[in-house]
Amino acid sequence: MLSAIFFWMFASAACFFAFGVILARNPMHSAVSLVATLIALAGLFLQLHAEFLAWILIIVYTGAVMVLIIFVISLLNLHREEPINLTLARRFGITFVGIFGFMIFVYLFTDSLTGFVYPKKLPAPEEFGSAASLAADLFTRYLLPFELASILLTAAVIGAVVIARKPCEEEEPKE
């Protein structure tokens, strides 16, 4: 009963703010809505006993990624989005993509079409979602994907530094 109340609270909040992200005219309001959406999602994670994941979501996404996005928005001084003038062809294309995406969504999640069976709700094991059990999985069973992801991230960081750094000294005019 109580968990149902919390589920609907977080789920409706997530949907409400997700609409806020795309409907808000002001980019800052969009960004703040995204923060609220992420917090609501973390609330849903908590309900699934994934406490570690929930707080990592908050620390990494709302605490770091979104702060940077908001930083950029305020530096670019975007106050109000200009209304976009779309050509008829583009409007048609966007509508088509939207309908197609929605149909894929329906196809995937309707069991009458695909025979997709929702997994039965099992009681979570005692240690599920804790830092220790997550680490045990991450560093044994999923070690290779984990290390590959970290190499990818390192490559991305190096790439960002290369793009952002000042031009080499040889290219600067000599005094």
């Binding site: 800052m28 406490e51 620390i59 709302t62 605490g63 702060v67 940077l68 930083f71 305020s74 830092a131």
Partner: protein, 347 residues
Amino acid sequence: MNLGELALYSIVKIAILFPLVMLSVAYLTWLERKLLGRFQQRLGPHRVGPFGLLQPIADGVKLFFKEDIIPTNADRILFILAPVLSMACALMAIAVIPFGPSFQLFGYDLGRVQIADVNVGLLYIFGITSLSVYGVFLAGWSSGNKYSLLGALRSSAQIFSYELTLGLSVIIPLMAVGSLKMSGIVDSQADGFWNWWILSPKWLVIPGLLGFALYLISAFAETNRIPFDLPEAETELVAGYHLEYSSMKFAMFFMAEYVNMITAASIATTLFLGGWHSPLPLAPFTWFPGWFWFAAKVFVILFFFIWVRATFPRFRYDQLMHFGWKILLPLAMLNVFLAAVGLLLAG
């Protein structure tokens, strides 16, 4: 304990702890002004009540009756939301701090003086503190004032930079106890000060001390205290992010800063200074209740906060960034390495 009892006990604990925290905030401002006065060879507040003890209440009443102004250029929703966010984040972190051992009320055993012992307590605290940047940032942005915006930009960059060090500095208790639960970390430090994580056994003493120092330094930055109070540097930015705020909205930022100070001191006490355990397991020390030792340790750290404010000048912005990224962060990473090696050697 069923869910209803848990909810009831939590409400009772909140009803006890919330007024206590707010009272501590009020008298922390008094303590700060009094101590600063003494450090600077003057009296500090002494007119309202004996020793100026009624000064915080007079200030609160004054702020309450001030006119509440919202500037024309402000973004109304975010302008109102920002102080609420600041205050909420500051108070939420209190929830997982263990203030004392089990206690009884009217014959009912209410468990520890801790509102919620979540099993990712430490992560919870870092999550909440990482949200506190939004209060400051949105306040500065929504004010529609360039000084406020500059203060907000500085603060987010600063909090962002020092959060990494803050997170890495607490690695010793985390690795040695193997749990993110606050209660587990406190329990591991019972029976005397040599068990506290600041003086960790054998090879761990260097990472223990270094971790504590790193934690304190980054806590100064996280709470926007001198020497890291650039977001509100009054000589450069008038008042920084809360320039346009008045009345209770300003008071909420003010209170949030002091709640954050208390939280930072409480976390340092819990992780490094043995929480509510007495320094020696001997008779005269064990007569005092757990909350007394907790309060005493928190007081020492808060005194240090105020002492530093009276002693050091403010950093320059580039010095702040240089110090955070090129000195503190490598030190914090070295500390993680030392802690791991130390734990391995200690077995």
